[in-house]
Symmetry: C2
Subunit: 692 residues, 2 copies
């Protein structure tokens, strides 16, 4: 069997190969990819991406070749090494904070330093008083200390008021005593804390003495407050005797991150450990000053939610990029109605059952883009207002960011998985969507569980309805209020303008449905006085409807001819963007058809017509699909996908990864069950290469 065999033919895919097909796909559309990319991402972003990527590609530590094969401890070590290298590059190359964050995005790993550069720095800078900021911020910015954010506990997550960790004020020593009364008080899940951090923001129940002495002291609780605490020695990196701390172990995704646990045992911290910008304890009198507006305490959370909404578009665009490219290349089955035996197999993306899964997600990426931008603007405006003492837009930001966080992360998480499944078997392998999926799955849960936080949207909207109901003349100032008022004063109880008249009528149908659900919820809660919990499912539906209407509103705004950015685009691109708007609006409406029908927002005739419209829209968008994903300009390095690579060399890359980059092929095994011997010798990986 040792005769020389010529394998050269076996290294070429059957024709037409992926590179040829993807070239033909690009030739089918005249959308200007660069113009669209500049419009979506700005020329500044794209230049920065190119510049930073060039540096990241030079460093071997960022190579992804073997990372999926590593043990958990080795995966953490790789993450730590990457985190160090990025900061070293920042120093060496004079990167701005923004450049650094671009590098993190490109590196596409969950770095053990993540919480330091996110929640930790945000909390100290937003909640620290001037003296605290002056002391801590230089150390934080220089990474002299590495911080974590320890809020969630073993027994309490969403209900922050229920956390058990105590911070008792000792007026004599002028110290706070941090103590975990039970196992369930252990801090838990807190990123960067398990092995990396030297410091943490520990959120604890602030407790001030009211009477008694020593062990007999009685305390009053003032709710959760943030304390900055050193948790490990700066030299030995060991925790003090009064703190137990560690990594919680393997979990879904995030293998490179050290999510931690932490118990305190009468651990003492000085008075100025309590971050005191908005609330403080007077070290002399022991008297508590509460924040002017209690909402400010949740500033960090609102920031993170807004950021999650803003980031969703690129996560989904990434999955869609891989799916669209691969599914254009992949061939499977001839057309069943074909009568010519020499007809080639069809591109998988030409099947309506594949289009219906992928193309609406492509449209969703655009929808998330516009609302992410709007969310970012609302956040910036609100922070600026708060700094100036104006809390007007905070309630809107809080509710909108909650509803959109819930909807956007649901859409993105399920969208990534839908893309992965649509790719069949290869979706499980080197698709680049396995790690993306595992890591993204945290988003629907963290920073407010997606079901729980929808209550905040309902509360906000019911309040609006209540305010409007009690008044005779118009009090509407926001679009939401105007919509509710319009519905309230409408004579008929069905909207039924018809959604195929013009784009504005689509938007109005969405808003009509919202208004119907708002007044239904208002009626149930405020008039019929139904128990809050009995309405939670309705509230969830309301939040979804409201957030969908926001996505449709912002998308609709963006494609107005009066919008100068949009008007600049060539006419094909404008047409396709409008088709994407329709596809997003119509598929969402079709999925929620019964609610649109029973709220009187859309007639059954129009709803019945949706599937055919959607099919037609998908047919029109299909030839532009590859160029549309190209415009998101997600580098191959980020995609890390044999299936989604720009040049279409799908099968070559899959084979290369399997036989050149797979440590399991370096050993030969003994399958004979009668022996416990596992490894029989060195593998045939080398032999395979030499054969080829």
């Amino acid at each position: 069997m040792a005769h020389k065999v010529d394998w050269s033919a076996a290294l070429r895919p059957a024709s037409p190969d992926g590179a040829t097909i993807i070239g033909e796909e690009r030739a089918r559309s005249n959308i200007s990819v660069d113009s669209l990319a500049n419009y979506l991402l700005t020329p500044e972003f794209l230049k920065q991406q190119d510049r930073v990527l060039k540096e990241v590609l030079k460093e071997p530590v960022f190579k992804k070749t073997n990372q999926a094969n590593l043990s958990r401890p080795d995966r953490y070590k790789l993450g730590l090494a990457r985190g160090k290298k990025l900061r070293q590059l920042q120093d060496k190359l004079g990167w701005s904070e923004d450049d650094y964050h671009m590098a993190v995005y490109l590196c596409d790993d969950v770095l053990p330093y993540h919480l330091h550069t996110a929640m930790f720095v945000t909390t100290v800078s937003q909640q620290g008083n001037d003296a605290q900021r002056a002391y801590w911020m230089p150390k934080i910015e220089a990474w002299e200390i590495i911080g974590a954010y320890a809020q969630t506990e073993l027994g309490h997550g969403s209900n922050v008021r229920g956390i058990e960790l105590e911070a008792k004020w000792d007026p004599k020593a002028k110290e706070f005593v941090l103590h975990s009364p039970h196992l369930t008080a252990s801090k838990w899940w807190n990123g960067t804390m398990g092995r990396t951090a030297t410091h943490a923001i520990a959120v604890a129940q602030l407790m001030l003495p009211v009477s008694g002495h020593g062990a007999e002291t009685k305390y009053q609780s003032y709710g959760p407050h943030p304390f900055i605490v050193q948790i490990r020695d700066s030299k030995t990196h060991q925790p003090p005797g009064s703190i137990i701390i560690g990594d919680i172990g393997p979990k879904y995704g995030y293998a490179s991150m050290d999510n931690g646990y932490m118990l305190f045992n009468n651990h003492r911290v000085p008075h100025d450990a309590m971050l005191s910008r908005y609330s403080r304890v007077d070290p002399g009198t022991g008297k508590y000053t509460k924040p002017e507006n209690p909402e400010v305490v949740y500033g960090t959370l609102t920031h993170v939610r807004a950021a999650i909404v803003m980031e969703a578009r690129l996560s989904l665009a990434r999955a869609v990029t891989v799916a669209v490219r691969y599914l254009s290349i992949r061939r499977q089955f001839k057309d069943k109605d074909s009568t010519n035996p020499s007809d080639p197999e069809m591109s998988v993306l030409d099947y309506p059952t594949v289009q219906i899964r992928i193309l609406p997600l492509l449209a969703t990426a655009f929808a998330l883009h516009y609302s992410g931008k709007a969310m970012g603007e609302l956040y910036t405006r609100t922070r600026k207002n708060i700094e100036e003492g104006d809390f007007e837009t905070l309630a809107e930001l809080h509710s909108t960011s909650s509803g959109l966080k819930s909807l956007a992360t649901d859409l993105t998480a399920s969208g990534i998985e839908t893309c992965r499944r649509a790719m069949g078997g290869h979706g499980f392998g080197a698709s680049g969507l396995v790690q993306l999926n595992a890591n993204y799955l945290s988003k629907p849960t963290v920073e407010g569980d997606n079901w729980m936080i929808t209550q905040q949207v309902a509360r906000y909207l019911i309040k609006k309805a209540k305010a409007l109901s009690g008044s005779v003349k118009s009090r509407a100032t926001t679009r939401t209020e105007e919509n509710l008022e319009r519905y309230m004063y409408a004579r008929q109880k069905t909207f039924n303008l018809g959604i195929f008249q013009d784009d504005a009528s689509i938007l109005q149908a969405y808003e009509w449905r919202v208004a119907y659900l708002v007044f239904k919820a208002y009626e149930a809660r405020e008039i019929q006085k139904k128990p809050w919990n009995s309405l939670l499912i309705d509230f969830h539906k309301l939040s979804r409807a409201y957030s969908q209407s926001i996505l449709v509103f912002n998308f609709h705004q963006a494609i107005q001819p009066t919008n100068p950015d949009f008007a600049h685009l060539d006419s094909t691109t404008r047409t396709v963007l409008r088709e994407l708007f329709h596809l997003f609006a119509f598929t969402t409406m079709d999925a929620e058809a019964r609610e649109f029908s029973s709220s009187g927002a859309v007639s059954n005739e129009d709803l019945d017509a949706l599937p055919a419209r959607v099919l037609e829209l998908m047919g029109r968008i299909r030839p532009h699909a590859v160029r549309l994903v190209d415009a998101w300009k997600i580098p191959d390095f980020v995609l890390d996908s044999a299936l989604g690579r720009y040049d279409g060399k799908v099968y070559e890359d899959l084979f290369d990864r399997a036989h050149r980059q797979n440590p399991l092929n370096n050993e030969t095994f003994n399958p004979d069950y009668r022996t416990d011997e596992i490894v029989l010798g060195s593998g045939d990986a080398g032999q395979i290469l030499s054969k080829l």
Copy 2:
């Protein structure tokens, strides 16, 4: 900081602890867990489970403690060691094949031997002729050889007819020549093949010479046929020079399985390598004999699909067991309407927004149980018929198993993830659902992609409608045909009997909807002659509707008072099972409400009433939830879940896993980015233990 600290209090969860709560939960219901378990699983199954589990627990190799921390190669080695041990135990303890499969289920790992004991043995025994079976089966059963099933290729999965591997008949040498003409012809994804197998069933295009000689020979293709091929040397375990083979690398789940790739280069196998029970090539004349009924070739696939449907119930029940137990124990927030400040926090499972995610899945596990059983019976009956030359029920089995495979795996895969998400943060960690999810996710894709195979259901039903439409008098023999006929002869075009009359009317509403969709599809395809591909989305909806009606039908059959197994149960259990039937039927109907409405199967008034009915049903089922999951008798060893353990010690187990079983805590790291040093010294894991 070295003062002695007493941590004993910190080791106890806040009261009431999980063990207390789960005890109270069990006390709330008087369902007899053992009777229900015997009814669901049979006393034989439960005894076997106990007996085999006892043996599995004795062997350290099955401990799951560290498996999530391992590198990919180590994970494969662990899987191989486990596979050997199971077979050794079978020999030692005289286990039957059934005992062995029970052990595999309990061991809950994807064993590298899996394809040998599944597709390989099934294919040889079903497709091999008498001589082949006599030769191969003893070797296979003794594990003298280890086999894989190599059908899928890099370029072709679902479309088996499109595979590229060629098997050309050489009439002179009386050999087949296996050859991969391109890279895309590489076998791909085939389990057990990457590193373990010595043999494989290679599915190849059978090509017989029609004219010419030598390199000029022209061949005619007879489609894909199975060949049994030795792929590695029995001693060195190295492949011959004419085969390139290896493991394809890391993927979603299945880390312990060696999914492989394989290329052939004019590899010669003898005449009897072709499995020839149904079709054969005469070695003398070179003439081909085709199978009497071409469907038999797909026998193996139908078997696997039926098995997937049968197994779905336990996978979903497992996720629901974990979720119900943990969510009963977990407390979060007080009732918003509570006016008493000393009210405790609510059990998370008391929130309707949590119930609506979990309790319908509990009902779904029962629905899958009954249809899984029915599917198993249909499979056995059909196999028996085929052995006797009767192919009558094969078409029904093929279409039902396709539709149910698609629906059951969709329900189970999304159900597992829904359970995981409902558990919030802890769902990501030691929930036991991370590995379950990652491994189960293959099911919607393998053995026929869930979207693609729904065409087979539509094809079957359209054929039925066509046959009935052409006839004057009744030709109905099956329930499906009766239903179609009833609809066809109905005078009115709405059913509208009302679904709240009795259970039969619920079933009839489901069947009305199916009939409506069948005739719509028939009309579009057969009368209007619409292109097949333009109807694929409708076909998918039809398959889902049909499969849902089967789930409802079998569930409904099972809870008839006339059913002796059911009548044997105590009255509480019977009532709760009927409520679970209603919950399954109503939540499914609510999710598909628009289709029930537009098909005229259910009135809008009834549909509007569903959410309140569902809320009420969930309230009634809630107290029985823990006992209902107990009845599935899934051992803690299988659950491998801190959250779902029977005794409710959730927080103690989470903490134990984090600090006692986590290798990352064995090292101390250096987070200072100015040095490339990663490890600073040995970890504080020991120190943590000594503290406690």
